[in-house]
């Protein structure tokens, strides 16, 4: 891609890192954002070592101020923004929730990153995305469509992002800015740790996937994310692309 600047939130590890690497490999200049600059810089260095272009800056998506600053810094440095990937999710996303008795403060933690975070990221990026007729991509989850008995708060905020994507796609359609979702399944450091602790877990998950394996952030999720960020998807908006080996076929 020529002249394509993409910003990824929560990009220091897991899917954020995989998507950042894939975007850079496809020719994007990648703004790697993370709460800790050093963690983002490691991914930026990794991209540079592979011959790509990347720059790291801090962004805590729970702070509207921090989001605005990261986007302003991107504008100042590169003069444009073509795609924003909101990938960050609460650190407590995988923690089972006692729905009936859970503290509202826990809901806040989920909502701050995914619900409010989607709003503040979209609002801050809008003027720049409008100038490039760019793309906003939210990482959502099949949990937001199916619901989840134990990860109910996670399912709630991932559902939130689906409503958000559809409504905003219709709102921004006339401007040429596209808004989509991507619902992945991939091994991240946390999941890899869980697989190590429980050697049967990976197989149990894979058994429910027609393709019989759990995806890889860079090679399996990266390319569809690049597609949704770039000109190849120029007529696609308001959609959720489920990238999980066929695990969910209901859409």
């Amino acid at each position: 891609m020529t002249e394509h600047v993409a910003l990824v939130t929560g990009a220091a590890a897991g899917l954020g890192r995989g998507i950042a690497l894939a975007l850079a490999a496809a020719g994007s200049t990648v703004v790697v954002t993370a709460r800790r600059l050093a963690a983002g810089a490691e991914v930026a260095d990794e991209i540079a070592a592979r011959g790509g272009t990347a720059w790291a800056t801090t962004c805590d998506v729970t702070s509207a101020e921090s989001v605005r600053a990261a986007i302003e810094a991107t504008a100042a440095r590169f003069g444009r923004l073509d795609a924003v990937v909101h990938n960050a999710t609460s650190r407590r996303s995988g923690e089972p929730v006692d729905l009936e008795h859970a503290d509202p403060a826990l809901w806040r933690e989920h909502a701050d990153v995914s619900l409010t975070g989607s709003f503040t990221v979209a609002r801050a990026a809008y003027p720049l995305l409008r100038a490039t007729e760019g793309a906003l991509l939210l990482l959502t989850s099949p949990a937001g469509m199916r619901g989840s008995a134990n990860l109910s708060f996670y399912a709630g905020v991932k559902g939130a992002q689906r409503g958000f994507v559809k409504a905003l796609a219709r709102e921004w359609g006339p401007t040429g800015v596209r808004v989509n979702g991507l619902a992945p399944l991939a091994v991240t450091p946390a999941l890899a740790g869980a697989f190590e602790a429980d050697p049967t877990m990976e197989g149990r998950i894979a058994d429910k996937v027609p393709m019989r394996r759990v995806g890889d952030p860079e090679t399996d999720i990266g390319a569809p994310a690049v597609f949704l960020c770039g000109p190849a998807s120029r007529y696609v908006t308001g959609q959720t692309l489920i990238v999980n080996g066929g695990r969910d076929t209901f859409l």
Binding site: A64, L115, A122, G156, A167, L168, E171
Partner: protein, 247 residues
């Protein structure tokens, strides 16, 4: 006193129509609202005719425990010790006013997207305990833009789809107790949002003649509370005159 009791949250608009329908079907009723909940004339009339008990209450939903703590006393007033049905209809104030996302302030986002979710969550969190003894049913009513989106209504679509995902989660979680959780999603005109005619949300695709009315929504809720609906949980009934037709 009737055999069954339903609690309806949201006393005006759709809530009033649903309350009226549930009383007409022979249930006792607890009607709650964030504001002072009054009974409409026709609700009082129907209740008098069926002999239903109707209890109304203003219950703030801002603090999580207020609703939960109010339930035992409301049930006692209604002459019951558990709930057969809980219907949540509360649309946020001012929810149907179109506003472009880029111009929303943090406060507006909180009020329009996040507060409604917190209020719904408050009710959902308290629902399992009173519903479990009677293997009761929860019905959540949110606008169908949860499924389709609509320009300039991003906070409402977001809040509605959040609640829908939370309700499905509860459906999975409470199935073992025999509690079912289902959704009814009416078009925005059932909410009386006539000012949205001709806007993005109105594609004029309903195939049945006439507009969707609050009574249509109440009928759909009644269907989900019918004994014949026992095997349905986590489903969404779209009440829009055939505009969307679930893909």
């Amino acid at each position: 006193m009737a055999e069954q009791v339903a609690l309806v949250v949201g006393a005006t608009g759709l809530g009033e129509a649903i309350a009226h329908r549930l009383v007409a079907d022979g249930r006792d009723l607890i009607l709650c609202d964030r504001e002072e909940a009054g009974t409409s004339g026709r609700l009082a009339e129907t209740a008098a005719a069926t002999g239903a008990r109707v209890v109304t209450a203003r219950v703030p939903l801002d603090t999580p425990d207020t609703f939960r703590d109010a339930l035992p006393d409301l049930l006692r007033q209604a002459g019951h010790d558990a709930l057969d049905a809980l219907v949540y209809t509360m649309p946020p104030d001012d929810a149907f006013t179109p506003r472009p996302l880029a111009a929303l302030t943090d406060d507006q986002w909180r009020r329009l997207a996040e507060d409604p979710v917190r209020h719904g969550l408050t009710v959902l969190q308290a629902a399992r305990e009173p519903l479990a003894p009677r293997r009761g049913r929860f019905v959540l009513v949110v606008p169908a833009i949860a499924l389709e989106g609509a320009a300039d209504l991003v906070p409402l679509a977001t809040a509605a789809e959040t609640l829908r995902a939370l309700a499905k989660s509860a459906a999975r979680r409470w199935a073992a107790d025999g509690i079912t959780v289902n959704l009814v999603t009416p078009d925005v005109f059932a909410y009386g949002a006539e000012h949205l005619r001709g806007t993005d949300v109105d594609r004029g695709e309903a195939v049945l003649p006439g507009p969707t009315t609050p009574a249509d929504v109440a009928d759909a809720v009644a269907l989900l509370l019918d004994p014949a609906a026992a095997r349905l949980t986590g489903t969404t009934l779209i009440v829009d005159g055939g505009a969307l037709m679930t893909p």
